[in-house]
Symmetry: C2
Subunit: 132 residues, 2 copies
DNA sequence: GTATAATGTATAGAAACAATGTACAAAAGA
DNA sequence: TCTTTTGTACATTGTTTCTATACATTATAC
């Protein structure tokens, strides 16, 4: 436990730091790289590693806890919990489709080609269909 | 021209309105649904349609203009310009891959299945490979 | 058992940001 | 030249983000 979560904080991004932390850790949770029972670094340790204030990490942990991923207790730290996946609201799929296109549009505007974007989509799709 | 850009503003989202506007319009630009020469609604018209202040739309237009998509002139409105796609920075692909996984993780956490997510990825990939 | 130290929590403040209100500037057309 | 239509500038207000500091809780040492 306490292995490094391999998070990279982009201080130039418009996405707030605490949400970058949430998004990064949630990826690992969903992908199973963090499993129930695993301990996360303490808020102070991770804050030091990322170069931010520990309250910023604490806020991220709190959000993940509110989503049901973490069990937070004083003096014991943050531990990954088992979690029932909720039922997705009806519109979730359409909203995802829209966000996906907006993300693709953004990186295409930055210069990534249709082909490159499609390759990455295929790669992730294959991962999703192959794993577990 | 002045056709409705079919933007939906989600006031519950944490993404600021002006960026929702930017993201939505950029999608249409990248996908060719808005082409050079097309006129966008005036800031006041689009603001009325979206239910926000016209300065909020103006800010969105300014960002798109800074990205090279729009030509803004008083009394004439916003017109889509021809634009050279820049060269993507070297890390762009990896950053995109990360963001893609974070987006997928987010919606999977909300309850979308691996299968559904993969289907949407495939659908967009097919669009990208098929069009033009 | 009690003291101590390690950990998350609470609250306040400063700075940046988002959205608005209002006034202004430019330019097309009457 | 006047008026109207459009984008622009700037101040204001509320919100968000991040930090600083103090506090509460609890496992462990002894």
């Amino acid at each position: 436990m306490n292995e490094s979560p391999a998070l990279r904080i982009d201080t130039t991004s418009t996405t707030p730091v605490y949400r970058q932390i949430v998004d990064g850790i949630r990826s690992q949770l969903v992908e199973g790289r963090l499993a129930p029972g695993d301990a996360l670094p303490t808020v102070r340790d991770l804050a030091l590693e990322l170069g931010v204030h520990f309250n910023t990490v604490a806020e991220a942990y709190r959000l993940l806890s509110a989503e049901g991923w973490l069990d937070l207790r004083r003096r014991r730290g943050a531990v990954v919990t088992a979690r029932d996946t909720p039922q997705a609201p009806p519109k979730a799929r359409q909203i995802f489709a829209d966000k996906l296109r907006q993300l693709a549009a953004q990186v295409r505007a930055e210069g990534l080609t249709r082909h490159t974007v499609a390759d990455e989509l295929d790669a992730l799709s294959a991962e999703l269909r192959g794993e577990n």
